[in-house]
């Protein structure tokens, strides 16, 4: 009986595969023979490193002449062998080969028979504690190589019955997994250490999880733990500065509004370019401007367990059509097996408007002087109004800006209960958050509830879970149009400082105005205090999933989700708020509902020991429906009943209701393959169909492929001990975007209403209002990414680098067409934009031991260039010179600032005569540069005057801890960007109609009194208000987003208390910038990629001082 002949080897392979059953029979026969081992005289010499056992057997066979019989399936289980022996006994060599494994052997004649060792069951119990000796509940205790597992209870205790010689694996999220072999002792106590290295973490990825070390795409993660120090209303605020390539921008201080998040400079002309948010596997409805029923603004930060950001296309391609702007996967907290815990988290803070950056406008005396001189200079024949005859009488006058603001509280209370049993677990979180605005009479309130339940069924072969998360948000005046010129804040600012907003008796004063001023007809303070604009948003997120193990390694999962959102708006502007205007009321309602279904089949297997396969196929469908309506009316008999049943007039053309739908369905597949855990490959494909595209273009294909190589696992690399982990990865993928804004039928020629009057009676008119575009197709982004992940010096330093290059094709937008066609635009695929960049992330553990100091720093350098754009080759900036700041043009970065180049003032007649002049040029008026050299200033003399795209974005976090104290500091910033202060067109207006900036005192008044040569004379010169280079400032900044100091009270002896932590924090602690306005993060269009960096007197972002408490009860 010869089993192992070198030439026979290949046959054996076939034999093994085909005749497994037969072998087992033989083995059983052999097993019955019960032959005792005799001592061996044969000596063996081996020098093997990480060698397959078959190879070792072969050598042994050759040296000893013994044949070796081993069950084929056992062959693949025996660990690779590293051995170095010289003339050792066969017995010792075999023992060494099988060390630590449940493998036995016996010798029968000239045959070594290898078999599984029959093991006795032993009962093991013990306790799991953390580094300080506190019990750890919920730790999974698993028998290695089996599905048998238990959890630790409240005291950290467990008990389990296992075969003798088993290895127990203790694992717990955030801790280093530990393995202990079961020997004689039946009590195994374990101390788990916190996981300082992230490699072993399991990361949530699209449709599943993956080990961090095996990731081949560009993926950033954040755990809730890292965010607990920043008490905020919206989770988006906590993400600022945390991840390379993830830009989070606080463009306004409006309460309750979610911040803009952009991944790798994602941009879209038509849509929002927000990432796709997936909460526990369920895609959320898209948000509109950080508010409304979609997005993440209604989610309680206390619910969050982790964030995963999928940055490159290969990682996100499985979300295909909506992944072009990146994907943010959010998991919510769930109870762990064996855990019961009550958490109470709360904070209270005060928001304070900093002094820095407040607009520096003239006070009473300065303004009256300015106006007096205005009359002297520009209205020589006109009698001086009495108001301006004695400027000194006014002193400081009235500050219309400061009166709008207050110190405002922010607070949250959240109570969570976690209960994890062996077969079921549930957690409930209830929360209430309230944020009053620093702008008076504005606030936001949010009520949350979330229930997550999971059940294990069918002998651990099935799992079912449910989540429901209702929320209710009330925005009171939080969405007023505050962030624009000549709205509340700007309007107040420009009012005369000679008149008050409030009378000495506390009543509202009449509209403040002074001679020659442009009378807005509004006392803006009164307007703010009397206006009611309330949004009430009810949202229910619900999902249910089921998982079933079909065969070993084959799992089916189905998930159903609903995202229902209803929002009402109740707006009333009383007649007293705007002089000579009727009261206006509006009531509108929007109901959004989305359902989604995701079915996946997942098969995981390992072939021939080293080939690990993970295959996923799936089907997904989603449908969105919206119903909306509006009632608007005016002319109320009194302001006392601000409801529309009182309105005398309800203009028919303003009242409407309507409905819209979109749908998506998809098929997808993904293959993960790795060889020996060090050569990694992933390929995926999604086929998406969407209702929003033309009949021939509804279907899109979105492939992704990525590969990784863990170099540090290679043998040759062991010689570099400083580097414990080094991975190279590369990926390429295509993702799509179907965001066409609010019109889901844009490819179709739709009809609109065009009513008229015949016979003095209203007659219905309808006709085509949009052009049809059957070719309207997916916006596609092709992304190439290469990256390195590296850990150094015993995990003290971990480093990540990525280079990416994206080409977005077929950008969706309204292509402008000549008005003479009867239409002004057609929705089309209009542009290609190339975006590329470098991202670096580095985490260091600077100090370990009692005093700990961790630092994480990330920086990304993003660039973009428009490579194609339909006729006329640019967007924006060309039809008006006022209040239009951006021009996007082929060959240039997106949304460059566009305008005149400021060239000072015509100081004297000679300069004026020399020109170049514009129609309204006079001595003392503004001079712009004559760029086309035709001697006169026209519309054509404008050019690119600034670039609002930042050259670098960075984030910098430091965490310190010493015994019970912890301190953290988060900073973020942008470098190398220009910013436009659009309010200058108003606050430096020279027409003598607004209160103005103090610097206008330096204006040109006469040849003898020419001022600083920068500010022109007071004269109606619209040119000075046109967008020009003087509006542009350096917008680089560094903001300290949060400083938090925490103290954990030791409570180990208390009966119910587990943990109490107190902390204090300061958000927006300081801003380092040369930008003169309130906040360099301000942006009138948020992070809309082609309209960045313009401040138009925004709702300011306050500094927040907060105190909080985290209480954990047993």
């Amino acid at each position: 009986m010869k089993f192992y002949e070198p030439d026979f080897y290949r046959h054996i392979k076939v034999y093994k595969l085909i005749l497994v059953m037969k072998l087992i029979v033989i083995l059983m026969v052999v097993g019955f023979l019960q032959v005792n081992a005799k001592s061996f005289g044969q000596k063996v010499t081996l020098a093997e490193t990480d060698t397959n056992i078959e190879k070792v057997f072969n050598k042994i066979r050759r040296q000893t002449g013994y044949n070796i019989l081993c069950p084929a399936d056992l062959l693949s289980e025996i660990a690779r062998v590293t051995i170095n022996v010289k003339n050792e006994s066969l017995d010792l060599v075999l023992k060494q080969c099988f060390q630590g494994q449940q493998i036995g052997y016996s010798i029968y004649k000239d045959m070594i028979i290898v078999k599984r060792e029959a093991l006795k069951d032993v009962s093991v119990e013990g306790r799991v504690v953390d580094k300080s000796g506190n019990p750890l509940p919920g730790v999974t205790v698993k028998v290695k190589g089996t599905a048998v597992a238990v959890g630790t209870n409240d005291q950290g205790r467990y008990s389990i019955t296992v075969p003798e010689g088993s290895v127990l694996v203790f694992s717990f999220v955030g801790f280093v997994t530990q393995e202990v072999a079961v020997k004689v002792s039946t009590t195994i106590n374990v101390q788990l250490l916190e996981d300082q290295q992230l490699l072993s973490q399991v990361v949530v990825v699209s449709y599943g999880t993956q080990k961090r070390r095996e990731l081949t795409g560009s993926v950033a993660t954040l755990k809730a733990d890292e965010l607990k120090n920043m008490p905020v209303f919206n989770i988006s605020q906590q993400l600022q500065g945390k991840m390379a390539g993830v830009q989070v921008n606080q463009s306004t201080g409006q309460p309750g509004k979610s911040l803009d998040i952009r991944i790798r400079g994602a941009m879209s002309f038509k849509g929002q370019a927000s990432p796709l948010y997936i909460v526990d596997g369920q895609p959320l409805a898209p948000a509109v401007s950080g508010n409304g029923t979609g997005g993440i603004s209604s989610i309680n930060p206390e619910d969050i367990e982790s964030f995963t950001v999928l940055k490159d296309a290969a990682s996100s391609a499985l979300y295909g059509s909506r992944a072009a702007n990146g994907v943010v996967l959010i998991t919510t907290k769930r109870a762990k097996a064996g855990e019961t815990q009550i958490d109470f988290n709360s904070f209270y803070g005060l928001q304070v408007l900093p002094q820095h950056g407040r607009p520096d406008l003239m006070n009473g005396t300065e303004f009256a002087t300015f106006m007096q001189q205005y009359y002297q200079d520009e209205k020589p024949g006109v009698p001086m109004p009495v108001e301006y005859q004695n400027p000194e009488q006014y002193g400081e006058g009235y500050n219309h800006y400061d009166i709008l603001f207050r110190n405002a509280p922010i607070q949250r209370y959240a109570l969570s209960v976690f209960s994890g049993k062996e077969k079921s677990s549930t957690n409930v979180t209830a929360g209430y958050s309230e944020m009053a605005g620093v702008l008076k009479n504005t606030n936001a309130k949010l009520f949350n509830l979330r229930i997550n339940s999971d059940f294990t069924l069918l002998n651990d072969n099935a799992k079912i879970g449910f989540s429901v998360a209702p929320s209710y948000k009330i925005d009171h005046n939080a969405r007023l149009n505050t962030d624009n010129t000549r709205q509340i804040i700007s309007g107040a600012l420009l009012s005369t400082p000679l008149q008050p907003d409030v009378n000495p008796d506390g009543s509202f004063a009449p509209v403040p105005t002074s001679p020659n001023m442009l009378n807005s007809g509004v006392n803006w303070y009164r307007y703010l205090m009397e206006t009611k604009d309330d949004y009430k948003t009810t949202r229910i997120l619900g999902n249910a999933y089921g998982e079933l193990n079909l065969l070993k390694g084959l799992k089916f999962k189905t998930q159903l989700g609903v995202d229902m959102g209803g929002e009402t708006r109740n707006n009333f502007i009383p007649s007293t708020s705007v002089a000579s205007k009727l009261a206006v009321g509006r009531y509108s309602a929007t109901n959004n509902s989305v359902w989604s279904i995701d079915n996946t089949l997942n098969y995981q297997t390992t072939l021939s020991e080293d080939h690990h396969l993970d295959i996923l196929v799936g089907y997904s469908a989603q449908k969105f429906n919206q119903e909306h309506g509006l009632v608007e009316g005016n002319t109320f008999p009194s302001d006392d009943y601000p409801w529309l049943n009182q309105a005398l007039v309800k203009p028919a053309n303003l009242n409407y209701s309507g409905t819209m739908d979109w749908s998506i369905n998809s098929l997808m597949g993904r293959l993960n393959y790795n060889y020996k855990g060090k050569y990694l490959l992933q390929a995926s494909l999604r086929r998406d169909g969407s209702s929003v595209f033309g009949p021939d273009k509804k279907i899109g294909y979105f492939p992704g492929i990525s590969a990784g190589w863990i170099i540090s696992d290679e043998h040759f690399f062991k010689t570099v001990p400083a580097i414990s982990y080094l991975k190279l990865r590369a990926s390429y993928g295509v993702t799509g975007n179907n965001d066409l804004g609010a019109d889901f039928y844009s490819w179709q020629a739709q009809t609109g209403t065009f009513n008229y009057v015949f016979n003095n009676t209203l007659v219905s008119g309808r006709s085509i209002s949009t052009l049809q575009n059957n070719q309207l197709a997916w916006e596609q982004t092709k992304t190439f990414d290469v990256g390195i992940d590296m850990n150094l010096f015993n995990e003290r330093i971990s480093f990540t680098y990525d280079y990416y290059s994206k080409l977005t094709d077929g950008l969706l937008f309204d292509q402008p067409i000549p008005d003479n066609s009867g239409f002004s635009s057609i929705v089309a695929n209009i542009a290609s934009v190339k975006l590329w960049g470098h991202e670096f992330g580095i985490n260091t553990r600077n100090l370990i031991g009692d005093f700990k100091w961790n630092t994480s720093f990330n920086v990304s350098f993003n660039r973009n260039k428009v490579t194609e754009l339909v006729t006329p080759g640019f967007l924006g900036g060309r039809t008006t010179a006022f209040d239009d700041y951006w021009s996007t043009e082929v060959g240039h970065p997106l949304g460059m600032f566009y305008g005149y180049v400021y060239d000072g003032v015509f100081m004297n007649d000679a300069e004026l005569a020399a020109g170049p002049r514009e129609a309204s040029s006079l001595i003392g008026t503004v001079r712009m540069k004559d760029l086309n050299g035709d001697g006169i200033i026209t519309f054509a003399d404008r050019t690119f005057i600034g670039n609002p795209n930042p050259k670098a974005l960075f984030g910098f976090t430091n965490d310190f801890s010493y015994k019970q104290f912890d301190l953290s500091m988060v900073m973020s910033g942008e470098l190398g960007r220009d910013m436009i202060d659009g309010s200058i067109a108003y606050t430096e207006n020279l027409d003598g109609v607004f209160n103005v900036s103090k610097i206008l005192a330096n204006r040109w008044r006469s040849v003898d009194n020419p001022g600083d040569g920068i500010i022109p004379r007071t004269r109606n010169t619209p040119l000075a208000r046109a967008v020009n280079s003087r509006f542009v400032q350096n917008g680089s900044y560094l903001t300290c987003k949060n400083i938090a100091l925490g103290y954990t009270i030791p409570v180990s002896k208390m009966k119910y208390l587990k943990d109490i932590r107190l902390f204090g924090s300061v958000q927006q602690a300081f801003v380092i910038t040369s930008y003169k306005g309130m906040s360099p993060e301000t942006s009138i269009s948020g992070l809309r990629g082609w309209q960045l960096g313009v401040d138009k007197t925004a709702y300011p972002v306050p500094r927040t001082f907060a105190f909080g408490v985290n209480i954990k009860l047993k």
Binding site: N516, G521, K581, N755, F758, G765
Partner: protein, 513 residues
Amino acid sequence: MKTILILLCIFSIGITSCNKDFLDLNPKDKATSETFFKTEAQFQEALTASYYYLRDLYFYDYVLGEMRSDNTHYDYYSQDRGNSALYREQVADFTDDAINIHTNTLWIAAYKGISKANVVINRIKDVEIADAAKNTITGEAKFLRAFYYYKLVRYYGDVPLYLQEVGDTDQAFALRTASTEVYNSIIEDTKDAIQKLPTSTTFPQSGRASKGAALILLADVYMTQKKYAEAEPLLKQLTQMNYGLQPNYADVYALGNKNGKESIFEVQYKQGPDGQQNPLLYHFIPKVSNSTNITGVNTNTITSGGFNTPTSDLISSYEPNDTRLDASIAIAEGTLVAGTFNPERIKSSVNYVAPEGKIGKPFIKKYLHAHTVANNTDDNWPVYRYAEVLLFMAECLNEQGKSSEALPFLNLVRVRAGLPQSNQNNPVLLRGVIDHERRIELAFENKRWLDLVRSGNAIKVMNAYGAALKASGQHAYLTPNSYMVTSKHLLFPIPNRERIINTLLTQNPGYLF
């Protein structure tokens, strides 16, 4: 195995719903191009959509048609240098350029109206609708198309000529067509409309285009082309229809006489909350913080008002005892409070002299009638009325050397205005008399500028007018380059947006961009 089968079933259900139905979504709250345009009622609605743009067309037509001329100006308000005011001033002062909102808006309105008419004309051909209905609908659509092009060709010269519905991007990029060809298309459409449209027999009329409207449009075109002999029979035909003059000039504009017997074509407005209201009165009254003493309804017109203000040049050119002065122009009398005009009462413009301490601001009274909500009046806008038929008749007879035949038509208008009959027999002098009569009779009906261009007097008259304005010393705000009227100004610039999108579109001579 069983579970796998169940799962495969679920999967296959999923995959079958990948079919097209799931993705074939259409609007449920409105029709699309595919579902509409089937019935007569739907074509009536589509036709109405073309009428709709008449109101857009006339929203700023007074800026181009009157403020550009010596009839009206604006109340200069140094505080408001916003674009909306600036652009109106620039049209008046001949300093306008291709980014002017008002000239651009008119262009857009006309082309939208044309596009809606084209949809009707193109699509109705292949639909089974009774011939009578098809004829009237086509006739009205062709009248409207011709009417819009006639505005365009006079204001802008050569313009892109679309006679087919635009269905895609490529069709949207047309070049300018020679104005003669545009005129030919207008004439062809109007002739067809005359054939297809019914005669108005009952008054008030519906407000739709009628045979009479098409006749006077064609006559107007011929008058502009100086084809007097061709205009004459059309005008004569109009005199034999059911139209007539109202007894008093002021009655022409009375709300009770909307679409009355003097009316041939009007832009329809209706006050109320239906979006059909006329807001123009509030552009015309002075800039006031409270309008109650002028219109009876309170609103603030500081930035919206004070445009299209009658010039003293016009007021002084009324003959003594012309009843049209009082009917057309009134004076808002009041005081200046902190630099803002505070009106106290309305006074007649006849022989008005402001009392001590008061100022009087003239404004257009023709369209001032009772209404309940500010910016929301009931007044129609007169486009063609019978008085113009008479004046056209007089003009075209005089131009053909039949001056004596012209006088009776002229005198019908003069007598109604309370003026003595003219017996001017000198054709050259009579031309001047008729021209002046048109200025007065049709004042504020957006005829003046085009009449000046048509008569060839625009450059001469407006330069003289501008020189007088500057000399008066009351208009110090006028920039040195204002009222430097040259032949360039006889056409408005092609909107800048059109030319930056369609780079092959040429600009009218003299404009910088």
